[in-house]
Amino acid sequence: MSPRELPWPCPNVIPGMAPLAAILARTEETAVAVTGIRAYPSGFGFTLDLRLRGGVPRDMRMHWPLAGMFDHPRGLPADTLLRLTVEFADGRSVSNADPRTAGPGEPDPDRPMLSDAPGTSWGADEWYPDAWGLAMQYRVRPLPPPGPLAFTCIWPARGIPASRVEVDGAAILRAADTAVTLWPDDPYCSHD
């Protein structure tokens, strides 16, 4: 299984919440934020929030500028896409630019996995011609070890250099302890 092919959390788990909301990077016309960490027994989810203004390409509605999202039809160059990486305190990391395909064999359970979706966007249209926003849901497995958990990004096309924000991995572990599994014997939710 690829690090990027990860089932979405089963709806029968109500997550615990870690109170994170931080601007990861911003310029005059672009802001990248990480917010809403939802902690599950086997991993955590978060929201990547993008806000663009001024000179927003109208095709943002069609082609979200995130690495690894899908095959961009016109083969957009890598520097037009936002690359997001999650780094554990012990040095393990996973990026949305990691390849979707993986070699044969069972996945390494200790290797961090990152999945995306769902996401919702608005703007770059007749109502908001000069603004665009995206809330993209990501999920990481497994849970991080105690210590700093880092979110980093780089987005050359929007003038965003390598940027980093850290949160306390222990806070996510504490939130995971409060997650509630509603129907533990649910045969449709074996991944959680």
Binding site: P11, P19, A21, R38, R53, L182
Partner: protein
């Protein structure tokens, strides 16, 4: 008197949007460490997470869950009153199949999803809380073939006063009688204080 006694119908209404709906480039809301189980039975749960504080209100995710059903092909009905009309029930009794949900401030002010939500009377006093869509995380949900889930992004404005903040629900059709969970409103108020502008100029250029 029930928390969910329906208010009187009014002739003139207006649609309410979250104050931050039209200018979503302005504020990254703070997040409160809140995850609540409002009610739970063997096959139904009503939970609340993702509490976000804005300068003029707060949003949250109402998470509704149905467990595995005997009939895997059963199509669950939408569990809340349909939006898009100021009078979706046309004066008919509120069906037991619909979730009743409300919020109560420490000073007694309250708002529910009964009747015309998210429409309110035109002459609503400005300090009366209103319930509307959250304008942050898109609501989603539906059948999974063996149950169902809905994540509904909701918002209440204005911010609550200090003291207990109550979330109340009832769902007669799912065997849930009136259930109430209180948190300290300071959790929401602290999140609102932690809200920061996406851009230093507040997004107002």
């Amino acid at each position: 008197m029930s928390f969910f006694d329906r208010p009187a119908r009014v002739a003139r209404t207006k649609l309410v949007l979250a104050a931050w709906h039209r200018r979503r480039t302005e504020v990254l809301p703070g997040v409160a460490p809140v995850a609540l189980m409002l009610a739970r039975t063997d096959d139904t749960a009503v939970a609340l997470t993702d509490v976000r504080g804005y300068p003029n209100g707060f949003a949250f995710l109402l998470r509704l869950r149905w467990g595995p059903a005997a009939d895997r092909d059963e199509q669950p009905p939408w569990p809340v009153a349909m939006l898009g009309s100021p009078d979706p029930l046309g004066g008919e009794p509120f069906p037991d199949e619909l979730l009743r949900f409300g919020v109560q401030f420490a000073d007694g002010r309250r708002v529910t999803n009964m009747d015309g939500y998210p429409y309110v009377p035109e002459e609503l006093p400005p300090d009366q809380p209103v319930l509307t869509e959250g304008a942050g995380i898109d609501s989603e949900g539906g059948s999974l073939g063996r149950g169902a889930y809905w994540d509904l992004d909701q918002a209440v404005q204005p911010l609550p006063p200090p003291g207990p903040l109550a979330f109340v629900c009832a769902w007669p059709g799912r065997g849930i009688s009136e259930s109430r969970v209180e948190i300290d409103a300071a959790l929401v108020l602290d999140a609102a204080v932690a809200a920061v502008p996406y851009f230093p100029d507040g997004g107002r250029r």
